[in-house]
């Protein structure tokens, strides 16, 4: 229960839309959202499939707690095989769209095949139809939302869509909903684009009502919200400063990758920090930050809404960018800022808005620009090739390259291939800061050992959200571990990866785990769904999901060799900060990690591991 019990299957090739019963055994074993959507994907899609071919499928999935009063119950995930990495992709988004789908009575939507012409899916409770999207093709996410709402004369509709970048199959194109919430990573938007799928517009009026034990559910979700409110991170830090609360903290511990990971501390960090967002500007006396914003059902409200300085060079004479818009979050501020040595806050927000507007992942984009700037400084790329002088620190180059990339013009087309392909093309593959083809986020794997291992072993390539050991290694949640120490990290990474998989599958936001752990999640899922969801059971399900994803990647052709980090992280030591002299000790950690995972030395699952997890 708490599942809607129904899924939509859309065959884009034939233009058919069918309702199907949810596989309740899978729901029980994989919960929902990330786990359940991935189960459908691995059962239905050949791991070797070309991600941008009609044979790949793409799934929008909610969790059983999506659309309920459990705090943060607004999440959904987009699952497919990634064109950026070739591995399984699973990108999570907040906003309001996920809850709307659930309230229309659907747990997930599976898209297969490829439409002969641009279409969008219209869902209004039981009604689900493909509609022509010729008039939407070439439009931004912002325009798409507006036009669809006008067409249906329904301002309450929620829309999940791609912008021009997804249409152009930028390999890190995102799916964006509610203007500025994104299933951002791994290029899920490019897969939608390859299928001529522009958007999913949903209106759900049924609501979510089939809670197993409503009284117990209301009671336990109320108690758990109190924990969030009383916790220093979820009750104070995140609502007041957003994820940007981390900028100065991570810089101080010497783990803020700077200028394509040449450095681990950024002298301009304070200029692009949460504090800077709240400081009145010299030009107009206003603060960059306007307010915070919650996703559906969220009692934390980490989201940032900001306004760009109207006199800033990026938006002069462009009033369409003068209104309030989403950002900056820490990852975007880092990737657009520190990763390129740019300390111009207004420029970062302008680029961030472009990322939302046309649907690209600011992390992969920013990190790829970092590689381009390094290639420029090394003389490998010239001004003529790039279209602008692009030294580290150039806000002008950053803004220019963002415009080129989202519009599919000039050198932007090469940036749209991501750092791995771009650096390889110019003969310097070692300068791409990625694992499995996906660019790293905002923490340095040399200064923080565990996160380096988490990057190397992440099932979707370089990513902090697959095992956020920063919580332990920097913030001391749930216990403090020494970031410079590699001992004990394989166990820590595994525990974080498994617990995260369970959180991600529930329909709730992973940020709750700053205050909650599995014993807080379990009773909420138990009251809503099935009293078999104990803490132990959730840990096991999390491990099952992790291994299922891994197994898919193995079948896709990934081996132990791919569980690695760029040479820079393994051989070039941190130049400053508390971890000065450190590299990532991956070789020490990886064998132990395989052992605690129950994997063979070649990175495949041992038969007994499969048996234990029911795979």
């Amino acid at each position: 229960m708490a599942w809607a019990g129904k899924i939509l299957r859309v065959n884009l090739t034939d233009g058919t839309v069918k309702s199907e019963a949810l596989n309740m055994q899978w729901a029980r074993d994989y919960i929902g959202s990330r786990g359940l959507g991935s189960k459908y994907l691995v059962e239905e899609v050949d791991a070797k499939v070309d991600p941008l071919s009609p044979e790949n499928k793409i799934i929008w999935a909610t969790g059983p707690l999506t659309g309920t009063m459990a705090s943060t119950g607004g999440r959904y995930t987009v699952i497919t095989k990634s064109p950026l990495t070739g591995a399984i992709a699973c990108s999570n988004s907040g906003g309001y769209w996920g809850a709307e789908l659930k309230m229309a009575g659907w747990d997930m939507i599976i898209f297969e095949g490829k439409s002969p012409k641009p279409v969008y899916l219209y869902v209004n409770d039981d009604v689900a139809e493909l509609r022509d999207a010729a008039h939407l093709w070439g439009k931004s996410v912002f325009q798409t939302e507006e036009i669809i709402k006008k067409t249906h004369q329904d301002p309450l509709m929620r829309i999940s869509s791609i912008g021009k970048a997804g249409e152009n199959q930028v390999l890190f194109a995102a799916v964006v909903n509610d203007l500025h919430r994104a299933a951002g990573r791994s290029g899920v938007g490019a897969v939608a684009g390859s299928k001529n799928l522009k958007a999913i517009a949903v209106r759900g009026t049924k609501g979510v009502g089939n809670i197993r034990d409503p009284k117990a559910f209301m009671q336990v979700t109320f108690e758990k919200k109190k924990i969030l409110a009383e916790n220093a991170v979820t009750g104070q830090g995140l609502p007041a400063y957003g994820t940007q609360v981390l900028m100065n903290v991570i810089n101080e511990v010497g783990a803020l990758p700077t200028r394509n990971h040449r450095d681990v501390q950024f002298e301009g960090a304070k200029d692009i920090s949460a504090e800077a967002m709240k400081t009145p500007r010299k030009t107009d006396g206003k603060t960059h930050l306007v307010t915070n914003q919650a996703c559906f059902g969220c009692t934390i409200a980490c989201g940032r809404i900001s306004k760009i300085d109207e006199t800033h060079f990026t938006v002069v004479n462009k009033p369409e960018y003068w209104g309030a818009s989403g950002g900056l979050e820490y990852e975007a501020a880092w990737a657009l800022g520190a990763a390129n040595g740019v300390n111009d806050l207004e420029c970062l927000q302008y680029v961030n808005v472009l990322c939302n507007e046309e649907g690209i992942d600011p992390i992969s984009f920013g990190a790829t620009v970092g590689a381009v700037m390094e290639l420029y400084e090394l003389g490998v790329l010239t001004k003529e090739q790039i279209g602008i002088e692009a030294p580290f620190g150039s806000a002008k180059a950053l803004a220019f390259l963002a415009e080129e990339t989202v519009n599919g013009r000039g050198f932007g087309k090469e940036i749209g291939q991501g750092a791995k392909r771009l650096t390889a093309k110019y003969g310097r593959p070692e300068l791409a800061m990625h694992s499995k083809g996906q660019e790293f986020p905002a923490y340095d794997g040399r200064a923080i050992q565990g996160i380096g291992l988490a990057y190397a072993t992440s099932n979707r390539g370089g990513c902090h959200l697959r095992g956020y050991t920063i919580a332990s290694e920097v913030l001391g949640i749930p216990v403090k571990t020494d970031p410079t120490e590699s001992e004990g990290k394989p166990e820590l990474v595994k525990a974080f990866q498994d617990a995260t998989a369970a959180f991600d599958s529930s329909g709730l936001c992973i940020f709750t785990s700053f205050a909650w752990s599995l014993p807080d999640l379990a009773p909420q899922l138990a009251a809503a769904c099935d009293d078999g969801y104990t803490t132990e059971e959730l840990a096991k399900i999390g491990e099952r999901i992790w291994n299922m994803e891994r197994d898919f990647n193995n079948r896709a052709g990934f081996t132990a060799k791919d569980d690695t980090l760029p040479k820079r992280l393994l051989e070039e030591a941190c130049k400053t900060g508390p971890s000065k002299g450190k590299v990532n000790e991956l070789a020490k950690m990886l064998p132990k990690y395989y052992e605690v995972r129950g994997w063979n030395p070649d990175g495949t699952l041992k038969p007994e591991t499969r048996a234990r997890l029911g795979l």
Partner: protein, 158 residues
């Protein structure tokens, strides 16, 4: 003492816990589409504004209703719709200047905020204090205190 819903839009984050609490209280489902309080998200300014019935003393809806389906709850002062009496003519929805009484297709009746009989579910659910249920005579007390603090409670300059 009569109490009223007091809304401080500046505190609202747009989480919609209030809308879910409202629909759950009245229909046992989490469904903002059935909520009697609505939160409006003005993107260009970043403002989120919760809006619902203010329980007018001389209520347009009550006076407009031809079958007297809307009456005053003596205990709370709420204008309450009797579903049994309401004929779904929608005259009250035309009469209300604020749009806070609305027709429900599924039941063929109208619905509006009834203050949950004196324990409004939205106030309990709101995590930010954007909706409170307070003394009707003193909704300005909080703001007065803020200004009093600002103007009169400063350290004396030497």
């Amino acid at each position: 003492m009569q109490k009223v819903l007091h809304i401080d839009a500046g505190k609202c984050t747009g989480c919609l816990q209030c809308e879910m609490a409202c629909s759950y209280e009245n229909y046992q489902v989490f469904a903002p589409s059935k909520s009697r309080i609505k939160v409006f998200d003005f993107h260009a300014t970043g403002k989120k504004v919760p809006y619902t019935c203010t329980q007018c003393d001389e209520a347009w809806c009550l006076h407009a209703c031809p079958v007297e389906a809307i009456t005053v709850d003596k205990a709370t002062g709420a204008k309450v719709v009797s579903e049994a009496t309401c004929v779904g003519c929608k005259v009250c929805t035309i009469a209300c200047p604020f749009g806070t009484v609305n027709y429900v297709q599924e039941t063929g009746k109208v619905q509006k905020c009834d203050l949950c009989g004196g324990e409004p579910a939205c106030t309990e659910a709101c995590p930010t204090g954007a909706i409170t249920y307070i003394d009707a005579n003193w909704t300005g007390l909080g703001r007065m205190a803020e200004w009093a603090n600002k103007l009169g409670n400063q350290p004396v300059a030497n």
